[in-house]
Symmetry: C2
Subunit: 365 residues, 2 copies
């Protein structure tokens, strides 16, 4: 029986509640002999700040480096709006991404037919939607230097952020997108703003070159980021895999998630490069939704995105494809049976708590 080491970072807001449901499932999977899951738990975000005045400690980073995978809940909330910039809750997440070199962020946007009516879009435009945004996660304007605010001689302030991309950063994320497309509907849409950004020009050139040299069998199209944002709202089903940079990916993946009407349902995976020696890669799995401080601690949160993120870890980190399928099937069945947390309930529909939803998925399995 294979053995896997998971670091759980529940974080803030609803993070701990939804992570608790994942722990139930991991325990059950261990007890069934699917694999041996060893878990450790640590603090991140505001919770880490409250305890240690940093958004993640070096000790927690160390555990993350050693873990086979990290499961991450959510960070942030109004409580920490005024903490020093370097210690803000998001900094913990950004450090994890950067120090673990998790350059590839996969964000599926799937519209569950049972939930299509929860979308703000007309049902026929989103029903059956199944796209993946492949977002570059360790480069671009998130990490480029200089990144600073300076005071000018005239007393004004001047803020600078720097968008930087190099050839190999674009090549490796392009490959992730093309590989994924081959297992899906064989189509990649690459997005940038080459008409105003030099990084967009390079992005476009490199993706085109990788396509020509290594993936001529995959269909490739280019779409400016503003135009893609529009098209996503107009006709999302025309896409399969979308590959884009860190900042555009942030916005476009949130739009895609919102279209599905299933924001509380969507998992994501952030992956590093495969170590050629061991075949292993660093990975962090997190729900697309945030920490939802307004409903935190009330047992109202939807644990499905977090559970789905765990299922992604079974698939991408541990090669436990059958177990991953089982979890995902259980989620779909529970939804088909009509169970709903508040966020996905139609008007007048009965709702269940976070724990009840987790239990139902467990029972289904």
């Amino acid at each position: 029986m294979s053995s896997h080491n998971l670091l759980l970072l529940p974080g803030d807001g609803i993070g701990p509640e939804v992570m608790a449901e994942v722990q139930k499932l991991l325990k059950w999977l261990s007890s069934q002999g699917v694999a041996k899951f060893e878990t450790e738990t640590d603090l991140v975000g505001g919770a880490a700040y409250d305890a240690h005045k940093v958004s993640i400690t070096d000790a927690a980073m160390d555990r993350a480096m050693k873990a086979d995978a990290v499961l991450f809940g959510a960070v942030g909330g109004p409580k920490w709006d005024n903490v020093p910039y370097e210690a803000r809750p998001e900094a913990g997440l950004l450090r994890l991404r950067k120090d673990l070199a998790l350059f590839a962020n996969l964000r599926p946007a799937i519209c569950y037919p049972a939930l299509a009516d929860a979308s703000s879009l007309k049902r026929e435009l989103v029903e059956g939607l199944d796209i993946v945004i492949v977002r570059e996660l360790t480069g671009g304007v998130y990490f480029g230097e200089p990144k600073e605010i300076v005071t000018l001689e005239n007393g004004e302030k001047r803020a600078v952020d720097t968008q930087v991309y190099t050839t190999h950063e674009i090549e490796r994320i392009a490959r992730v997108a093309f590989e994924l497309a081959r297992k899906r509907r064989n189509k990649v849409t690459s997005s940038e703003k080459r008409n105003v950004m030099k990084s967009g020009v390079l992005w476009n050139q490199v993706v085109t070159a990788v396509h020509k040299a290594e993936y001529p069998d995959v269909q490739l199209e280019h779409n400016l980021a503003d135009s893609l944002a529009m098209q996503l709202v107009r006709q999302p089903k025309q896409y399969d895999v979308i590959v884009t940079d860190n900042l555009f990916g942030d916005i476009l993946s949130d739009i895609a998630a919102m279209l599905t009407g299933s924001l509380g349902m969507l998992p994501s995976a952030s992956l590093g490069a495969e170590d050629p020696a061991t075949g292993k890669r660093k990975a962090l799995y997190e729900p697309v939704h945030g920490s939802a401080p307004d409903i935190a601690g009330k047992g109202m949160a939807n644990p499905i995105a977090m559970i789905g993120s765990m299922a992604m870890s079974l698939r991408y980190s541990f090669g436990l494809l059958e177990a991953a399928d089982m979890v995902e099937k259980a989620i779909a069945n529970v939804l088909d049976s009509g169970l709903r947390t508040g966020d996905i309930a139609a008007k007048g529909q009965n709702t269940v708590s976070t724990g009840e939803m987790g239990d139902a998925i467990l029972t289904e399995m």
Copy 2:
């Protein structure tokens, strides 16, 4: 009778067709004694490249500097995909914005009730939508330096774009937003990514300070750009005036435009600072839609966004409020009477040509 000097830059694709309709209307307004409109026409974008190997000539820039207002059609098309970067069609538009110092881009997103069904969103979410995006237009990553691609020693390329904002750039665009909100529903939503960008931190601080010192009567809220993109798709009517930077404004205003189902209908104004001596400001008016090369030259384009842009020039540049109202009323009446160009026609509805739509609006006036 007041006299006004307009530079018409039809540009590429459907630009010339929709501009022709504006010329009809300007002639009629002159003949009715509303004001004396003198027009000159010049090339921009691909059309300028074909004639002069630049996207706008210095002579045309000179005319733009001297004009009371510029009416701009649209630029670009696959024909110019491979022209040198500095001469690409968009460069002409960017030079106009920068050299005329048009820092404030107003993009109304209005959903005409008669067209609400053309939206991909459910009717009740967009019917009656009336928001304005105030986009900073001469700063940010569009113009910051360095902006370059360099070749590294290892042969890789490295592309850099620089996002820069200074205090006064943010102050003046914030004031435009607050002033506008006072004439509307008194609410401003400011958007940035302060959780990852220093320019977002400064943006947030400066908007907050301007609000406190000068506009405490206006309601102000802050919304991260990714979250705002989601909320726009989910519940757009919660907004009134949205103020944001050049790049986020590019994307968010396109989303807002698409929501209305009336992309071919939406005008925009790009305004400079008021000259304290003359009370005049430089201004450029353009439709939100692009050059639509696929339907260019076929008489299928919808001229309403271009005509609406002209109406905005009557209002913002010439103080001809009644004439502006008259044009806008004529547009609304023609729509109510059921006239449709192809882009806004429901399935099975009869459509009219660009010229017929222009004539109908003229007749209505």
